[in-house]
Subunit: 347 residues, 2 copies
């Protein structure tokens, strides 16, 4: 038998997800001049003759990323596509094709897989992408979905994370924090249901939050709006781990500081109500550290900001500074605190 | 809680893997003219301005596709890349980039993941491909690896499965059946080891078979040789499920019949010896129905065959016929039997 013994054992948790990614990236050599961007952005970038191809991939694991006790399979299929399209949007690119690989145990029937693909096909329709391949296999436990999305973008429109400039306006699309509260509501109802199976779930009036969690949208509409206005962000990424975590990525990769303002954060009224009433959390904490909003975070030059400031669904939340000024959050009470990332911990 | 109840339950096993793929394919609509080929070949094909981009994806699940009790992580990493490169080779394309997503439980240390990536990077070096992205996440049990490979090919060189012509010569590269016997040996030694942990595994003299199973090669050398000789196969695929299964794919997709000859099948001497002595299996059964050889199966026009017949590692095994003549296997004893696929059953 192969000898799998190891002289040293370091837990993944000691490195964290980003530490692990850095470790993998370090040894990944680039052989092709066409590989413009490898590991480290929302998607890889490959140079074609006229356009760039962007490629993004995500893996969703049952019990880690979703819980089928409250996520309907159709919504899950939709979400799996949407989160990958969101990565393509974050490159300012247009999604074109996706591959979908699934592993699932014999707990899943043909009808269940049909339902998953109904959601996948619905999202493919919504985002105008072609399902072009994949793999289907069995797993010993549960469902694993791995999706790769391919998009294209003109060379002068691509947006990376490391290209923000000092003095840019920091913008976000939509509103933040709702998906995190949606998850908290679903988890709470699940616990109550487990304790008392006769209980009826109390989801009334919270549909928006739950939909944000179970069936998020990729903001392709924002990508098209920016194109219409002739604006190319200096940097862009999608908000999957939480605003704070993503801001820190842009800061460290672009070697900049930031200032953002609590009173500028776009937070839906329902998010404010439920955060304070149901969970006793400050709404801006949901916006900063809740994940899975799949909104776009981007930086634009000040003169470009003038072209988009009337768009109803885009909010300026601060600006970029020199790296030496740090990463700052100005509270409603005018206190200045450092931004720290909590993000998602999968390990 | 979401209502996951189903009025009808059909087991996946009733459909089989290919039935499931057909079902998924049926509902996958194509929106982009650039999507030349979607589900149903070794890779998807996307039209660029000058070249085609091919995209292939595979998922490997611990306990289904590999057993870490005998597959060293480094070999596994190598194999995961090689099997995807093999799909790109099957399109007659040159691999350029890969993304690697992994989910793994806390049983895996940083050192274990390093070892996996050592194999991944070794294969990237071997096949001259760039690791450009991926995803890392936790799983509740075991290791899941999902890889997507991207390659390019000139429009006049791409090889599909559905374009073989009547009267073409059917060729295979390398030799067949060895990987299947390698798996059988490893499984036998594992059972003996489980029964008696003091036992030393008996792998002497069988290294070739075991290496074919644990660390298969993608036949990029054959792709380059064909280019050098100016030959474009009329159809090509890689042999992952077994020769019989792949031949039937080419027949049904190209609407043809085939005749192949038992005495032409390329089978290594060690495969013959171990099949007959250790496992009491007819060697040609290993070649026809054993999987994971990752050799190339292709059809060429007769005039093209003349250009490659001196290549030492390419063997003609038969020819294509009209569909009405069926799919025939001529035994050494000149018996003519129908080819039936056994292939791999993951469900």
């Amino acid at each position: 038998m192969a000898n799998q013994s190891e002289s040293k054992r370091t837990e993944i948790a000691e490195l964290g997800e980003f530490g692990l990614i850095d470790r993998i990236k370090k040894d990944a050599k680039i052989h092709h001049a066409s590989t413009l961007k490898g590991i480290g952005d929302d998607a890889a970038v490959i140079k074609g003759e006229k356009e760039l191809t962007v490629i993004s991939t995500d893996m969703l694991v049952e019990g880690v990323h979703f819980d089928l006790r409250y996520a309907p399979l159709k919504h899950l299929g939709f979400k799996a596509i949407a989160v990958n399209v969101s990565d393509i949007a974050a490159m300012n690119a247009i999604p074109k094709q996706v591959t979908v690989s699934i592993a699932f145990s014999n707990r899943f029937s043909v009808e269940a897989i049909d339902e998953l693909y109904r959601g996948i096909n619905l999202a493919c329709e919504e985002y105008n992408v072609d399902l072009v391949g994949g793999d289907t296999t069995s797993s010993n436990v549960g469902l694993i979905i791995s999706i790769t999305a391919v998009g294209t973008v003109e060379e002068d429109k691509i947006t990376y994370r490391n290209t923000a400039q000092k003095g840019d306006v920091i913008c976000v699309s939509g509103d933040l924090g709702a998906a995190y509260l949606g998850l908290n509501i679903l988890e709470r109802e699940k616990q109550e249901f487990l304790a008392n199976p006769n209980m009826e779930p109390q989801l009334d009036g919270k549909n928006y939050l739950i939909e944000r969690q179970l069936k998020p949208s990729a903001r392709m509409d924002v990508v098209y709006e920016l194109r219409e206005k002739g604006v190319v962000p200096t940097a862009m990424m999608d908000i999957s781990d939480g605003l704070a975590s993503e801001l820190l990525h842009i800061c460290s990769q672009s070697d900049l500081g930031v200032v953002i303002y609590e009173d500028r954060l776009p937070i839906d009224r329902m998010t404010v109500d439920v955060a304070t009433t149901d969970f006793n959390i400050t709404p801006s904490v949901c916006a900063l550290n809740g994940g899975e909003d799949y909104e776009l975070l981007f930086t634009v030059k000040q003169e470009d900001f003038a072209k988009i400031e009337n768009l109803p669904d885009i909010t300026p939340i601060g600006y970029t500074t020199e790296a030496s000024k740090g990463r700052k959050f100005v509270t409603r009470g005018q206190q200045v605190v450092d931004i720290t990332a909590q993000g998602w911990k999968h390990f």
